[in-house]
Amino acid sequence: MREVAVIGVGQSTFGKFPQKTVVELGREAVLAALQDAGVSPKDIQVACTSKIYHEMVTGQSILKEVGIRGIEMINVENACAGGATAFRGVWKEIATGQYDIGIAIGVESMTTSPIAGKLIPPTKEDLEGQLGLTMPGLFALLARRQMHEYGTTLEDFAMVSVKNHHHGCLNPFAQYRKEFTVEEILNSRMICDPITLLQCCPNTDGAAAAVLCSIKVAKRYTIKPIKVIGSALLSGEYRYLQENMTISPLGSKTVKMAYEMAGVGPEDIDVVELHDAFANEEMLRYEELGLCKVGEGTRLIREKATWVGGRLPVNPSGGLLALGHPLSASGIRNITEIVWHLRGQAGERQTPDAKIGLAHMLGGVVAGIEAGACGIHILAR
């Protein structure tokens, strides 16, 4: 396998933009990534685009607008892990020597999607979905178990949202740039108890893109390539095998693969972007990524270890909670954020001297399966 680098990243401003088409959102991110890389559209040899709520050949529709056509283009869907899947797709093309340079794109217009303003359900034919399961419903069931098993409090959950909204204030791309107090978060509208509105990621329109190339080609464009040192993507196990639903065999297995490939461990990570679709979820991810022991996620929040300025910043971008969550875009957007930290370009939210960062995405609810997909990338400067 060849070493692969990220030489350009870009994202659109996240927010509610129902007047913008998926193509417009995608084009904004692609142009930003190409410009950041200093790469001509003519140099791109392969493209992989992730989306859920758009019709056919989304990548082709976006790329023709920027002068890219007539190359291999793939469109993928993997729920919220779609962006990570597209990124890994391009990484594989280059790592295996098929191509030297390619672009990964994630895009979603949630405000014009069929689920705008609704709770995200499983697919129509899914038994648990028919019986009333929704995304916040599932995470609310986990939240209640976290309280039962680990003594996590409602205030602890709210504090995750306080943190990520604070981080959002530091990010010019964020949908919500507003501080909230624990009380405001707990007193916002109840969605699925104990999860309130301000502990849920919002409906967001946006896109992100990343230009990847072989390390040899990278040296033509930059003296600061960011290396992809770990990449792993797995689907979930049968739920039958998961006795304690707050412990994720899928996440643990995926991150183990990524750490082994990268030759690093959780102690080496300087900055993390992870799937915080709901505030309580962030603490579960700390544990499965090995940032702390099982049951100690609450402690990291209470100690403020994961704030910008803390020992290990998590979701300095504002995360899905404040930056926003255009489903298929988030898995590339969070790699974009990690790249900025590794280059020292993250502005007010910069992690000092960040050398290694981790981007995590998780997606898809299916009856009987722990989760659809978990995608993890480890990047280093």
Binding site: L119, G129, Q130, G132, L133, G137, A140, I191, Y238
Partner: protein, 130 residues
Amino acid sequence: MANRIPIREGAFTESPDGGILLANRCRSCGQIFFPKAVFCLICLGKDIEEIKLSRKGKLYSYTTGHMPSMYFQPPYTIGYVDMPEGVKIFAPLKMVEGKPFKIGMDMEVVIEKLWQEGDNEIIGYKFKPL
């Protein structure tokens, strides 16, 4: 007279004692499946038998939804119930006056109408506190 249509064919039955969930068990490795699997999804064995799950289990977790789900208008409560056979069942939960939901409480299967579709009543399983 409305037609009673089960939400899934063969997933449950009604007995004089009340509702019973129908699962199946692999005779080779012992894995239990609910809803039923066509063959064992773990060891791929084809020798698989239908079993009746216990009528009672313990509440693993619960939540009340305050926005509509696919078929239910709020408020509706859903949860997971641990069955003695070692499987967790996701189901709507039925409120019983004076018995607030609590993790670990005893729950019992009930079979009843979930929602109406034209002339059809869609029938399924719920759990209620004992």
